[in-house]
Symmetry: C2
């Protein structure tokens, strides 16, 4: 999320303080998961998205059986997914946000979740100048021996500034994630209250998922959000963390996944994220 | 398994038709697993072995809860593991083979298993001239859309020739798998009846496991075996296969794993395997 953006990204739309007339209702925590706490689950692999395999996937309801905290995308990479307290939101490139009220009829080609239960809770202020290092210092202070494990991250509070992007979706079948990313919308939110949800993954996830931090954001009023590119907190935010020593993954057995070349492109993934 | 051996390997011991006075008893299939059929499970990652993190692990009994067919190694990389019908054997570099009769008191730092149930059974003759291509053709003929999935492989029959190696173990803590491999013993078995057990893994396992074919062999009399480097069948052998679309992995949360650099070295892994 924190890498220099590829040149093509500069064409992206920049907006701030977009007005959304319809506020989404506040929804209670939903618990569908049958998974043990703090285990990592993902459907498909990021390399399949890089190869443009995004036309089918599992129902969101199946995803929610495996966790209540996470992120991902939707069919044809149409928007960013955030899974917060078992509720799923689709954050679209036009700035609108849709609550997935019928998880059994909406599908995802790639997503990752955990049944999150924080084992470490603290408050932290992040200035965003060298955010990657700041986040690493924060996480390492709580999990000094956790660098080889996936960590689940949740931050709640007021953010002075968030730079976020939302993918607009594929224009044609099998269009690569790199091509989709070139058309993404980019937003800057200021003085915004909300929640960041995501993970920090070690290098061994290369090809499977995003190495490093990967955070999605949604505002408390559920009107603004996206894939986080950078941010700065407004004073302290609440930070909840857990370490996920078990990893499980389910792969598509039909369709585009089987046809994809799946040549791991670590640099390409980093450029997109 | 089929790569050109590194120079250091040439120092390895070469023997054939070793005599083993004590024959291991034939053991019935043991079923401890609670895992669903044809799901892939692994403990730790191959990159941890590359980094020499091999001094601790899970009990073999825990491994067997996750599958009855597979391979791996033992504490300090002392020998090759084969899991056949839920029975586990340690194949040592001195040519001896030990049946693990007490799985709860023997541990593994790295192993992978499945609860194997073949969905495809056939007979095949493999000449071994270009074995990698021959095996791929065989597997692809049964799973034409399976190239992006892990396949479980079992071959039973008479082999005209098998070239195998067994790792002798670490000489000091944290010694790398590459260094251990330089001291491995290499054997050639001729006209030998037995079973090959293993997997073919796609490129996305890079860093986690061995990309390509990975087979271990044990003779029917349980006197000879090892990590397969090459082979030729004597006529047809029985080939059983299944496709494993679910992947699960458990990582060590203490000890050497946390200290290891875990920098993925795909070429190094290939050279060792």
């Amino acid at each position: 999320m924190l890498q220099t953006l590829a040149k093509g990204f500069q064409r992206s739309l920049r907006q701030s303080s977009i007005h959304h007339p319809r506020q989404l209702p506040f929804l209670p925590k939903r618990q569908l998961t049958t998974m043990a706490k703090n285990e990592f689950y993902q459907y498909s692999i990021i390399t399949a998205l890089m190869d443009g395999a995004a036309s089918d996937g599992i129902p969101i309801s199946t995803l929610l059986e495996n966790g209540d905290h996470g992120l991902g995308t939707f069919i044809d990479m149409f928007g960013e997914m955030i899974v917060l307290d078992g509720q799923v939101y689709q954050m679209k490139s036009d700035g609108s946000i849709v609550h997935i009220s019928s998880p059994s009829t909406t599908r995802t080609p790639f997503a990752c979740v955990t049944r999150f239960e924080a084992t470490s809770t603290s408050k932290a202020s992040l200035k965003g100048a060298d955010l990657k290092q700041e986040i690493n210092q924060l996480l390492d202070s709580h999990f000094p021996t956790g660098r080889n494990h996936i960590l689940a991250i949740r931050m709640d509070g007021t953010f002075a500034r968030i730079r976020a992007r939302t993918a607009g979706g594929q224009c044609k079948p099998r269009e690569s994630m790199m091509a989709v990313a070139e058309r993404q919308s980019e937003y800057t939110f200021q003085n915004i209250k909300g929640t960041m949800i995501g993970f920090r993954c070690p290098e061994w996830v290369t090809g499977l998922n995003v190495v490093g931090h990967h955070l999605h954001f949604i505002s408390d009023d559920r009107q603004q959000g996206g894939h986080v590119l950078g941010f700065q907190t407004d004073g302290e935010v609440e930070v909840q963390l857990s370490l996920l020593p078990k990893f499980s993954m389910e792969l598509p057995t039909e369709g585009e996944f089987n046809k994809a070349g799946l040549v791991v492109d670590a640099e390409g993934i980093a450029a997109c994220e």
